[in-house]
Each structure stands twice: as C-alpha cells, then as structure tokens.
C-alpha cells in the first residue's frame, strides 16, 4: 500500500492539485506535431513546485504517482497502465536530488541541472523499451537521445520558473 502518513492532509491535497494540473496541461497542450518532450515543461515545473512547497522527502514522487494514476484513470497517452512510470521516474530524480543537495531550489543553475536529470529519465525509459523489442544497440542510443533531447530542453525551461516563485512564496510566509 502506498501511504504518505507524514504529510499533513493539507499538504497532500496541495500535491494532489499539482498532480491534477500536470494532467490538465497534458490534455490541454498536446501538440500533435510529434515534438517529443514538450510535456516535460509543465511536468518538471509542477513536480519542482510540489517539492519546493512541501518539504517532505517524497513529495515529488507522491505527486508523480498521483498524476500517473490520474492519467491512467483518464486514459491519457500511450503506454496504458505503464504511463505511471512516465511521471514517477522524473519525480524520483527530483526527490533524490533534494535529498543529496537540498539547496538546489535556491539557484537557477542548480534547479536546471536537476531538471535536466529528471527529464533525462526519458532516455532510460526509451532504452529499456527498445532493448526489450530487440533494437540495434547504436540505434537504441540514437532513438533514446532523440526522445530525451526534447525532454531535457523543455524540462530545463520549465524549471527556471520555479526559483522566483518559491522566493516570493517564502517572503510571504506561505511556505
């Protein structure tokens, strides 16, 4: 059973709102142009916002699980039930980075690096899938790089919104 007892109900609900907005933006801004990775813009931004506002060890992961479950319930994207992984892997990267380097939220460079790492998990998703279907190894690398390049670009762009947002929220005493 997945349970987050240490989070207050208020914090859990805020993470729920972040999760639902990840899904809402995914529905609203689907660009049917085959531009890979654009959804990382708001996914990474909202996961970072969740982690920045709720300083619990697994807040981003919890948000990722909730958004993946919502995407599952609403039948979004390809991958069926495995769509949850698309949200959880970047979230895990964000939580892991916060554990290792808690101050990264304060700087643009730090948050961009973490966003790049989180977005790059798409590389590993693609590698695993392509390995399973038996693609040529060099092609796996190229395919995964193509998929991940867009994700990293958009993920880093989305992350740059977050430091000023968190600074203002802190100065207002909200977090």
């Amino acid at each position: 059973m997945i349970s987050m007892r240490k989070l207050s109900l208020r914090d859990s609900l805020f993470l729920g709102f972040c999760a639902v907005f990840i899904v809402v933006f995914r529905m609203a801004f689907r660009w049917h142009l085959g531009i890979s990775g654009h959804s990382m813009f708001y996914t990474i931004a909202l996961l970072l916002l969740a982690r920045g506002c709720v300083s619990s060890r697994w807040s981003a992961t919890y948000t990722g699980i909730l958004s993946g479950t919502m995407a599952l319930l609403l039948g979004l994207g390809k991958g069926g039930p495995l769509i949850i992984a698309k949200f959880v892997f970047p979230a895990l990267a964000i939580d892991f980075a916060a554990f290792v380097w808690p101050l990264y939220f304060g700087s643009f460079l730090g948050i961009a690096l973490v966003a790049a790492l989180a977005s790059a998990t798409k590389f590993f998703n693609t590698v695993i899938m392509d390995l399973l279907v038996g693609m040529d190894k060099l092609l796996i690398l190229q395919h995964a790089l193509v998929e991940a390049a867009g994700a990293v670009f958009f993920g880093v762009a989305g992350s740059l919104l977050i430091p000023p947002v968190l600074r203002k929220l802190k100065s207002r005493g909200v977090i």
């Binding site: 100065s171 207002r172 005493g173 909200v174």
Partner: protein, 454 residues
Amino acid sequence: MAPLLDIKDFSYAWPGETDWTCQRVNLEVNAGECCCLTGSTGSGKSTLALALKDMLPSGRREGKILFSSPTVKVGLVLQNPETQLFATTVGEEVAFALENQGVSPELMPEIVRDSLLSVGLDKDFNTPVATFSMGQKYRVLLASVLVMQPDLLILDEPAAQLDSSGLAELRVVLASLVKQGTAVLLCEHRPQVFSGLINRQWTMSGEKLSQYCSLGMSSFGQVDSPVQGHSENSLDSEEVVRVEGASAGTLVDQPLWCDASFALKAGQRVLIQGANGSGKSTLLRLLTGLIKPLKGQITVLGQQPSRKQLSGHLSFMLQNPQRQLFEERVVDEVSFSLRRKGISKSEREARSISVLHQCGIADLAERSPHKLSYGQKHLVTLASVIVGNPRILLLDDPFAGLDERFRQAVWKTMLNWSDEIKTTVIWTSHHDDEVPAAVDVLLTIEGGKIASSK
C-alpha cells in the same frame, strides 16, 4: 442543570503570533438554545468555533472549554460551502462522515435518509449536488454534519453565502433543531437575519466579550449624513453602458437571463441584485468583454467591450479580492497598474499615497499586503483598482465578509469616486434587504429577467 458548553476565560494565540486572537472569552450555551457570536473580522469568532471543535493547532492558550459530558459532540459548518462538498451525489455527500467513522454500509442509507429529512431535503440519493441552489447545498452540508448527531451545532457565517430564500429555509431548519434540543451557535456578522431565533448574543471586540439582549440593525449606507442618489440633472449625460436585448449563460437554450435592456450614465451608482447563481457576476464579466453575450448587443464606452479597448478605463474587483495581491509593499501593489501605463515613479507614488489616504489606510503604505487583516487587504485591493481613475468600476460583492467598519470605508470610497471622479460604480449583492438610498439604478435579476429601476 449544567450548561452544555461553558467557556471560562478562554484565550488563544496562533502559533508564531504574539497577540491573542481570542481573549478572556466567557460564555455558556444550554441545550435547546440558539446563540449568536458577532464581532468584527479578525475578532476571533472562527477561531473560537475551531477551538470548540478541538481543531486548533498547538498555539498559546489559557482558560478552559468545558462540556456537560465527555460524550458531547460538536458539529461545525464552515463559511464556504463550495470547499466542503466532496461528493457528486447527495447520498455520498451526506455519508462522508459515516464513511470516516467506519459505519457499516448497510446502516448508512437509513441514517442519511433521516438526516436529509431533518433539513427538509427529500431527494433521491443519486441526485447530483451540482444541480442544487446555494440554499439547498447549505442544507446538504448541514445534513452531512447532522449525521454525526451533534449536541452543539456551530455555523460560521451562514448568511454570507445565502440569499433571502436560502436564509428562510435555514431559519426553519434551525428552529426545528433547537426545538429538538440541539444547541446552535451562530458566528455571524449579520445577526439580524436570524432575529426571532436567537436567545442570546455576544459581541467579540478586542479584549471584550459583551453580551446583548437585543439585536441592532446595521447602519449600512449611512456615512456621517445620509447620501441620496444623483438627480437626473446633476449627472453628465454621457452614456457609458448600453445593453440591448442581451442574454447570457453557457447554454443558448438555457440562458441565465435574457432580453436585458438598460443604459447607464457616467457617475451613476448601480446595484445589481439577485439570488445566488442568478447571473450577477456574469453580467459584470460581459461588461468587461471577458465573455460574450449569447444574444443581443452590449456597448461599453461607445464600443463592443474588449480587453484592449477597456484597459485603463475599466477596473474590476473580484469577490475575495485579496487573491489578486502579489507585491511586497502596499504602495507597490496600488501603483502596479500605473507602472504598466508608463507613469513616472514619483507620480505613481504620489497618486498611490493619495488613494490610500482616501481609503483611510495611508499608514499601511510600507507594509506587506499579505500580512494585513481581511478588511485591510480588501481596502488595498480596492485602492489598487481605483488608482487609475477608471471610468467604470465593477465590484463583485464588495462587502462580503466585511464588518461594519470596513463596509463603511469601502462604501465611502465608492461614493467619493462616483461623485468626484464621475466613475460609474457597479456592484453586485445577493442580499435584497439592503438597498442604500445612494443607489441611482437598481438592476434586479429574477426569474431569468433583469428589471431596471431608479
């Protein structure tokens, strides 16, 4: 017989706060009594309500809250119904507390049925809550608390969201509950709407809790000396708004209101009255150009309303206006719209300070708007939307949640702007018992129509 509730010298301060929010509160409530707690915003009524439900975080506290028995149950309905309705259907909603208590599903329908009947709602369990009026939704909320069989029922600002028909329904339900022996405690700015029901009333103000036996009427609308509406000759004849045969809503075959026609002049004070959900806010949004009418024609300042055209000429203040605050200083918040117009810094500050003076809050200029009281935030937001001297000022329920002091401050500012700057001030209200004499045009939305009277 011991009182059901006995509060002795109770004081509480929120964590991190140095000042007491409630101070030395002493009161008693007996079973089968309806009592009322009034007081200005920030006087501690809601905090006391949360204390009675044992839901306050561990701040500083003194004194005691005693119940006649350890098994006394307290039910609480908070101010905003929209954030308390969790389910889609009536049955699920009322059963929420039973689910939380681990009540067996087989027992739930009977308990839910009884609770719904006690509030006069005999509806199928699968009826969607979204189809209810605000008054019915409030009664669903009441039912969802009554399933917990409280001995003391606390209602926080019940009149804030309800129109006259909703209030009438609520009065009947409360009378019935009191007759059955439930104690009711109302935390309410406007106790006069429950006159005839209230046995005792207290007023919380600063350090004092005073008990009153009679209920005074609000002096709303009276600023020093009574203000009347403008005479026809005293107003500039320039027409600023014309609405012809307009209909509004989301569905063409089910408009909120239709065939509305009226014209408004510069400097007029216009009140839009109607029940909750009748389309008052929709009318304001049509005038801003944010939404389009389903049918008919709307002209604002001689053209079809659009954001570009109205920018700088029309200002809009939301209900719960503190949502739009974002700067670090009050003076920056107020001068924001001037900054975007390219006005110099010295002129911006001068105009902002002048507006703050007129609103009576010049002493707050350097403070953070986010650390002010509810009423102060309200005035800051009002100042920020009038600083540009708009030709039309739209206010969505500007007095909601304000106590008498801040209501008068907002009202005075509205009068000044319509008299001195010739701003057409248009505001909405769902309370049909308050039509100040200073109103020039009253637009009443009822039965899907808008009636205009002067």
